[in-house]
Structure formats: structure tokens, C-alpha cells
């Protein structure tokens, strides 16, 4: 279902896609099918979904180590994503990138990023580029609460504010940088307050409310497109899983499991289901049907990934320098 046809359905399907994709990763990772690190986005689906709802395919995003959600919301191909996570030849990066380095520039995904804060200057440069090319594109730059302490955050937003670049800095405040709670990594509650330092607008919203995200980001996107420059939108949310699959007991070293339970009650998907029911006449049956459809897409992606070949060894030696593109 496309955004234009039926936005509510798109919201629902996109959040579910992310959730079910990630839940599948838990299983796949535990079974040793996915090498490397898996940083899951479960609980934060409304942010990527609401934000990307406001974009055109030609618009850009930059993403993070926790990037599956952004990629799916911007229209990434589930098969190529899953194959990449498996390290297969058919993956987005021919098996050379993995979870932290998926990109698809044909739909504006300028890359996940293994460096915390690493995508922020890149987003800024993409926005500069679209300004210079007068292409009317905007860029959404996703990053976490802890990334807002990197120098790259400060330098980039200052740069963008001087040149009034069309970029929206979307902070996914899930309250932790690995194990360090926000209260221990910064002396403020609302990261959006940092907008003051750049003379731009900053807004705090409930990041588990897909409609609120869409509205706030949508306004910022409209501003950016009309040449009024960057904004910071802070989305308060929470990650349900450990920092990565392998973080013992979902992070019990640094947080109370009860906190997780409390946040599960604020599940962005359950919340949106309630809304769909009460405002748009959705029923449990429609939910079930949608869920089954999406689950099938995920199973297909796993099957695609599983049955895809490993990259040939010489692939390891290719693409150090640009060879003309592979797609």
C-alpha cells in the first residue's frame, strides 16, 4: 500500500514490517545465520515511519547503526536487506556491508553508519548539495540521544543553520547510549533545546505516536523545502531489546526490567491499532490479515537470503575504488 493511496494503512504496514523484520532477526541471529552485530529497533518504529512518511523517494535520509527501521520506512527492499544481513551476494552491499552499512542511493538512503554521529555531516552535505542543485530535495538525518554529544552533531547543525540547509535532524531519544542513561550523558532533558545554540527551531514529541511524528517532521520538511532551513525534532521513545543482540538480559546491567515493561505498554503499534479501530473502523481481522501478509514478506526475505549464494571471494577485492556501479 503506498503512502499516497492510504497513509494510515501505510503507517500500519510499515511499522509492522519493521517490527516483524526485527523479531525475525532475533531468531535468525540466535541461530547464527547473521554474523556481526544486530542493533534492533523494536519499540521505536513510529519514529522512522512517521518521519519517512513526509518524504518523496528522491529525498534523502542518513541512518545509524540501528538502521533497519529507517531503511524499511524509506522503501528499502526487504529481500536485499535480509540478504545483506546474511552476508550474501544478493544483498544490498554484496555481503560487504552488513547491518551497519546498508545503503540504497536510488531511493535516497545514503547509508546506515557504524560511527555514532558519522552520518550527521553527511546529511548536511547532502542538503547542501540539493540546495546547490536547486533540486528541492530535503534530507532527514536520524541519530540517537547519545550521538547528540558528538562534535559532529554540533559542527553539522551549526553549518546547516548558517546556510539554511534543507535538513531535518531527527533525534531518536531512546534514553540510552548503550548502557549510559541520558541523565548520565548530558545535563539536559530535552535535546531539542540544543536548537537554541543554532538559532533554529527545536521540537519535542512523543516518538511512539506515529501521527505526532509525521506532523512535526512534516512541518519541518515543509519549512526546509521552502528555504527556511533546518530543524531539530526530538522523538522520545525507548528500545525494548538490549543495545544489540548479545547485550545480556536486554540490558539488565544498566536498567530495571520493569522499565522495559512500562514502555511495552506504550507500544507504538498497539497504540496505532487502537486509533485505527476507534477512528477508522479497523477490526482485529484487518490487523490479522495485514500481519499475515507482512509476515509472509519477511519469511520470503529470509528464504531469499538463505538460498542466495555467498559472494565469490574476489568480491572482497572489488569496489575499493569506484568501478562504474553494480546495479
Amino acid at each position: 500500500m503506498s503512502k499516497k493511496e492510504n497513509l494510515n494503512q501505510w503507517f500500519y504496514e510499515t511499522m509492522l514490517k519493521i517490527r516483524l523484520f526485527e523479531e525475525k532477526i532475533i531468531d535468525v541471529y540466535a541461530r547464527g545465520l547473521m554474523p556481526g552485530l544486530a542493533h534492533l529497533y523494536i519499540g521505536e518504529e513510529a519514529v522512522a515511519t512517521g518521519a519517512c512518511a513526509t518524504l518523496e523517494p528522491s529525498d534523502y535520509i542518513t541512518s545509524t547503526h540501528r538502521g533497519h527501521g529507517h531503511c524499511i520506512a524509506k522503501g528499502g527492499d526487504l529481500n536485499k536487506m535480509m540478504a545483506e544481513l546474511f552476508g550474501k551476494k544478493t544483498g544490498y552491499c554484496r555481503g560487504k556491508g552488513g547491518s551497519m552499512h546498508i545503503a540504497d542511493t536510488s531511493i535516497g538512503i545514503l547509508g546506515a553508519n557504524g560511527v555514532v554521529g558519522g552520518g550527521i555531516p553527511i546529511a548536511t552535505g547532502a542538503a547542501l548539495s540539493s540546495k546547490l542543485r536547486k533540486s528541492n530535495q530535503v534530507t532527514i538525518c536520524f541519530f540517537g540521544d547519545a550521538a547528540s554529544n558528538q562534535g559532529s552533531f554540533h559542527e553539522s547543525i551549526n553549518f546547516a543553520s548558517v546556510h539554511k540547509l534543507p535538513v531535518i535532524y531527527v533525534v531518536e531519544n531512546n534514553q540510552f547510549g548503550i548502557s549510559v542513561h541520558q541523565s548520565r550523558h548530558q545535563n539536559i532533558q530535552d535535546i531539542a533545546d540544543r536548537a537554541v545554540a543554532y538559532g533554529i527551531e527545536g521540537k519535542v514529541i512523543d516518538g511512539n505516536d506515529v501521527l505526532a511524528v509525521k506532523d512535526a517532521v512534516g512541518q519541518a520538511v515543509a519549512k526546509a523545502r521552502s528555504g527556511e532551513g533546518p530543524s531539530i525534532i526530538e522523538c522520545k521513545t525507548y528500545r525494548w531489546r538490549g543495545h544489540h543482540e548479545g547485550d545480556p538480559n536486554q540490558g539488565a546491567r544498566y536498567r530495571d526490567p520493569k522499565e522495559i515493561d512500562d514502555w511495552k505498554k506504550k507500544c507504538p503499534i498497539a497504540r496505532f491499532e487502537k486509533y485505527l479501530k476507534s477512528e477508522h473502523g479497523y477490526t482485529d481481522e484487518t490487523f490479522k490479515a495485514t500481519r499475515a501478509k507482512i509476515q509472509q514478506l519477511i519469511e520470503d526475505a529470509v528464504e531469499f537470503a538463505r538460498s542466495s549464494p555467498e559472494p565469490d571471494l574476489e568480491v572482497a577485492l572489488q569496489d575499493v575504488y569506484y568501478e562504474g556501479g553494480r546495479n
Binding site: P35, G114, N149
Partner: protein, 323 residues
């Protein structure tokens, strides 16, 4: 003597130095409550409290710089940068400040700090979490660079690094964290700047650091079967380099193969090869070879990842070709 893992040896070095000298403290991302992403600082937060085991914001430049500022004012910080790849963000503080202050300020300022950096491949962590950037650090006057390969060396060298009056970059090869070995119960140090002959031999010298020491030792076993006797040297310190030990070995064996994970071009092995050929030219019976990481970023897929760094088989093959 106790049997322990390398990660535990590092942990006990930190604990003992913090007990011995209250100027020593630890800072870095997730080194406190979490105990370090690789567990090196496990338990220290509980023992020494949040003032001496500081969980920092994600701010590598500030971490390194805070260490510099603390070091020049009487403390002995041990900072962890979570992956050597992120030292890229801290290079100004490390290279322009820490390494140069003593010199720029005419010899009047010392900067006794350690930066610990996990490095290397083997965890399918892809191009931004798997580099071996020791060559950069070796190039900088004012820095010392250490890279242990065994629990024994790790503990003794980390203590020396902490007691040194200069900035030391302490490189921990991630894949060696779980290697076990004997470690004395009593306090000991290993001097910075002393290589170690890990195996004596006659026919060829293998020079290797980190996990490549262990690969080289395995290769040496296999080569012994074929009648080739390998001397395996671990320089342990990459700046300053103990050329005396290395040259003596090459004078004896007349052949040198350098084994490293780092990329070949302008990598650490080039320093060794360039200097040894200059100092031992007349003793060499064959060109010095480098069995090195390929000149590519580290790929994610584990098979590809294995392909781009040396293997035991490759070492055996290439060393045999020297004869």
C-alpha cells in the same frame, strides 16, 4: 601463577594499578556500569566508584582531551576508545596535543596517559569496526605504541604503560581477548621497547604482533615438519622498536617475513622491512616479505573477512616460497 584470559589480565592490571596509585583512573564509553564493551573494565566501577571509573558521553575527542588535561595536571588517566576505528575522532588531541606537548613546551610538561584501543578483525564487524591503524601511531614522535599478544605480556605492558610518563597507545587485538595463559600472581612489569622471542629458530625470522603471533607460531609448527626452523619475534612495542633483537635474529636466519593484519601499503610492516634491509642488508638471503592484510576495507561477510587477512596456511605457503 594463575591461568587467565587476556581480557582478565588487562582487568587485573587496571585494578592493581588503581589500588597502587590513586592518580590512576579510567574513563571511556560504557567502561563503568557496563564494565566495558569487551569486559576489560569489569568490576572496577563497583570497586572504585563512579569518580575513578568514569562513564563518558560519546565524545571521543573530549575523552582523549580530558585525559590530556588530567595528565598534565597530575593524574594518570587510562582512557578507552571503544574501537581503534574511532581514534580517528580523537587524533587532534592525541597527535597534536598529547604527543607534542612535552616537546613544544621545551621539556617541562609530561603527559602520562594511556589510550586503550581494541583493534583488528574476526568479529564480522565490517569496515568501520575492524581496522588495524597502528601504522599511524607508530609514525608520531612523542607517542609510544604497545600491542601485546599474550595475557602475560598484556598485564606487564599495561602496567608499564600506566607508569610511563608519556602518552601510550595500548592496542588490544580483539580476537586475543579470550586467549588464556599463565600470569604471575605478584606485581611485575614488562619494559616498553623490548621485543620477545616467542620461539627460537634458525632458518627464517617471523615478525608478528597481536593475533598474528599465534598464527605465526602455528605456522612455525607446520614449517618445522617440513624442515624449516622459524624464529618468531613479537616486537610487543611498536614505538620505540627493539631493533636490536630483530636485527640479531635476521643476522642469524638471513630471512625475514613480517606477518600483520594491517593493510599492506604504508603499513607497520613497511617500517620493519625498510629498517631491517637498511641495517642488515648484507645478511639477507632473500627479500623481506610481508604477509599482510590486503589493501581493502574489511568486508562484513566472514568468509570474505578471512580472505583479506593472513591465515596460517598463507604464512606457511609464503614462508616456504622464501627457500
Amino acid at each position: 601463577m594463575a591461568q587467565m584470559k587476556l581480557v582478565e589480565a588487562l582487568n587485573s592490571a587496571l585494578r592493581e594499578e588503581m589500588e597502587r596509585d590513586e592518580r590512576v583512573f579510567v574513563l571511556g564509553e560504557d567502561v563503568g556500569l557496563y564494565g566495558g564493551i569487551f569486559g576489560v573494565t569489569q568490576g572496577l566501577y563497583k570497586q572504585f566508584g563512579p569518580e575513578r571509573v568514569i562513564d563518558t558521553p560519546i565524545s571521543e575527542a573530549a575523552i582523549a582531551g580530558a585525559a590530556v588535561g588530567a595528565a598534565v595536571t597530575g593524574m594518570r588517566p587510562v582512557a578507552e576508545i571503544m574501537f581503534i576505528d574511532f581514534i580517528t575522532i580523537a587524533m587532534d588531541q592525541l597527535v597534536n596535543q598529547a604527543a607534542k606537548m612535552c616537546y613544544m613546551f621545551g621539556g617541562n610538561v609530561s603527559v602520562p596517559m594511556v589510550i586503550r584501543v581494541p583493534a583488528g578483525t574476526g568479529r564480522s564487524a565490517a569496515a568501520q569496526h575492524s581496522q588495524s591503524l597502528e601504522a599511524w601511531l607508530m609514525h608520531i614522535p612523542g607517542l609510544k605504541v604497545v600491542c601485546p599478544s599474550t595475557p602475560y605480556d598484556a598485564k606487564g605492558l599495561l602496567k608499564s604503560a600506566i607508569r610511563d610518563d608519556n602518552p601510550v597507545v595500548f592496542i588490544e587485538n580483539k580476537i586475543t581477548y579470550n586467549l588464556s595463559g599463565e600470569v604471575p600472581d605478584e606485581d611485575y612489569t614488562i619494559p616498553i621497547g623490548k621485543a620477545d622471542i616467542k620461539r627460537e629458530g634458525q632458518d627464517v625470522t617471523l615478525l608478528a604482533t597481536g593475533n598474528m603471533v599465534h598464527y605465526s607460531l602455528k605456522a612455525a609448527d607446520e614449517l618445522q615438519q617440513e624442515g624449516i626452523s622459524c624464529e618468531v619475534i613479537d616486537p610487543r612495542t611498536l614505538r620505540p622498536i627493539d631493533y636490536e633483537t630483530i636485527i640479531n635474529s635476521v643476522v642469524k636466519t638471513s630471512r625475514l617475513a613480517i606477518v600483520q593484519e594491517a593493510c599492506r601499503t604504508a603499513g607497520p610492516g613497511c617500517e620493519f622491512a625498510a629498517t631491517v634491509q637498511e641495517r642488515a642488508f648484507d645478511y639477507l638471503d632473500a627479500p623481506i616479505i610481508q604477509i599482510a592484510g590486503m589493501d581493502v576495507p574489511i568486508p562484513f561477510n566472514p568468509k570474505l573477512e578471512k580472505t583479506v587477512v593472513p591465515s596460517v596456511e598463507q604464512i606457511v605457503r609464503e614462508v616456504k616460497a622464501l627457500f
